[in-house]
């Protein structure tokens, strides 16, 4: 706004900004005082306020989504050479919308979820899973490493997501196996890797239950580190008793394996 902040001078721009609620408290007070002694300006302001309200009322009924609107989104082809995450994003969006449509489309305001507790619960569950299963020599996993493909397709079915198990051999880790486990009362997958010294790292893939996406972050419980991030429909956690550079290297590899990131966002 090119508003003149001179106490005495109130411009027409100030009057508009007053009507549209675009003034700071002090200026609003000044305009209000000005209007008390300037009936013509006050009449304009009253007029414009009435216009604003009439406009909002006139088109209030338009602010609802129609069922056919969603078909516009689903009908558009997803362009080839599309990275997987776009397909996933689109599919999830439509899935979400389908669900919303069932609720009469009353969703113009998206509630902000209680992010912190959800995230904290997720990392805690990931760390707990690590502690529970990693120390077990024999029964930590349900499918052995020889059945890698079977493992990924079996876990993938439970997650509704076909994924390829990341290769961590460059970081010195081999797949030990994986298992299904409940994360937040929903099926999640845990993959377990081990290095030559017997050090283990778990990779957990869970369904995202309403958390906003995050870049990756580190949570530490004493010597146990957990890197976690949320990406659209899924949340991920990498846990291990490793010094940070190593755990970070593993995380980076997993992160890369599960998504192609567009240049801008790297």
């Amino acid at each position: 706004m090119t508003m003149n902040h001179d106490q005495k001078h109130i411009s027409e721009d100030d009057l508009h900004a007053y009507v549209d609620g675009q003034l700071d408290d002090q200026r609003r007070g000044e305009v209000k005082a000005f209007l008390e002694t300037h009936p013509e300006a006050a009449a304009d302001v009253a007029d414009w306020q009435a216009q604003n309200e009439a406009l909002r009322n006139a088109f209030a009924s338009e602010t609802s989504l129609r069922p056919e609107d969603l078909t516009l989104l689903s009908a558009a082809p997803v362009v080839s050479r599309t990275p997987w995450w776009r397909n996933v994003a689109a599919a999830v969006a439509l899935l979400l919308l389908g669900g919303m449509a069932g609720y009469g489309l009353h969703w113009s305001i998206t509630p902000v979820p209680a992010e912190r507790p959800l995230l904290a619960a997720f990392t805690d569950e990931a760390a707990d899973a690590y502690l529970t299963y990693v120390s077990e020599e024999r029964h930590a996993v349900e499918v052995g490493p020889d059945e890698t493909e079977h493992l990924s397709s079996w876990l993938g079915k439970r997650l509704d997501w076909e994924f390829v198990i990341p290769d961590l051999s460059e970081e010195g880790f081999q797949l030990v196996g994986g298992r299904l486990l409940p994360i937040n009362s929903q099926p999640g997958a845990m993959l377990l890797f081990e290095d030559a010294t017997g050090q283990r790292v778990s990779v957990i893939i869970a369904r995202n239950n309403g958390m906003s996406d995050t870049a990756w972050q580190l949570a530490r419980h004493e010597d146990l580190g957990t890197y976690y991030w949320i990406d659209g429909p899924r949340s991920y956690a990498i846990s291990g008793r490793l010094p940070d550079p190593e755990l970070r290297a593993v995380t980076s590899r997993v992160y890369a394996a599960f998504g192609e990131w567009p240049e801008n966002y790297r």
Binding site: W48, L55, R56, A76, A89, A90, S212, Y255, A256
Partner: protein, 176 residues
């Protein structure tokens, strides 16, 4: 090893975001065009054009961009129409000829018609401010015009709309 990503993958969910902005877009289309069939066309064109640019979207402010897109499309539409002779559909002519009294149910209709009589430029500014709640600076960005132009268009739009509404300049359209 790749550096740690700073990505915000939420930015990638363009279709989901687009869906969330659809109600606002519909409302803007309805207010800009002043009638339901044109609003439907404008809305659908806008969504289709947005999806055509899906690949090049880099997480910019999607909503503002959609409003830019729709405003431009509407301007082009009007330009093309002016090039062609206008004919009014039969049912519209009947509506205009109907000497209905100006009662409350018609107030809304009056406003929509009055809105249609002010300049297209002013209408876009007024709607973005009054309906969508955009700041003047944001409107300047969306319409790609200087802030001073936003203010002068807003002023003219409000004064013209006020004159039309108070002067009942719509009523002469009725057949006496």
């Amino acid at each position: 090893m790749r550096p740690p990503p700073l990505a915000h993958p939420a930015l990638l969910m363009m279709r989901e975001q687009l869906a969330q902005h659809m109600p606002s877009l519909r409302r803007y289309a309805r207010a800009l065009t002043g009638n339901a069939p044109d609003a439907d066309d404008l809305f659908q064109d806008c969504v289709e054009r947005a999806l055509a640019h899906e690949q090049s979207w880099r997480g910019q402010n999607l909503k503002a961009w959609l409003f830019t897109l729709m405003t431009n499309q509407h301007r082009n539409l009007l330009r093309n129409r002016r090039a062609r002779p206008q004919t009014a559909p039969m049912e519209d002519a009947g509506e205009i000829a109907d000497p209905a009294p100006v009662a409350d149910p018609l107030e809304q209709d009056r406003l929509v018609r009055a809105l249609n009589l002010i300049s297209e430029e002013g209408r876009a500014v007024l709607l973005l401010v009054a309906l969508e709640g955009y700041s003047y600076a944001e409107v300047a960005r969306i319409l790609d015009i200087p802030l001073g132009t936003v203010m002068s268009r807003l002023s003219r739009a409000r004064r013209n709309l006020g004159e039309i509404l108070s002067g009942d300049n719509i009523l002469p359209l009725r057949v006496r």
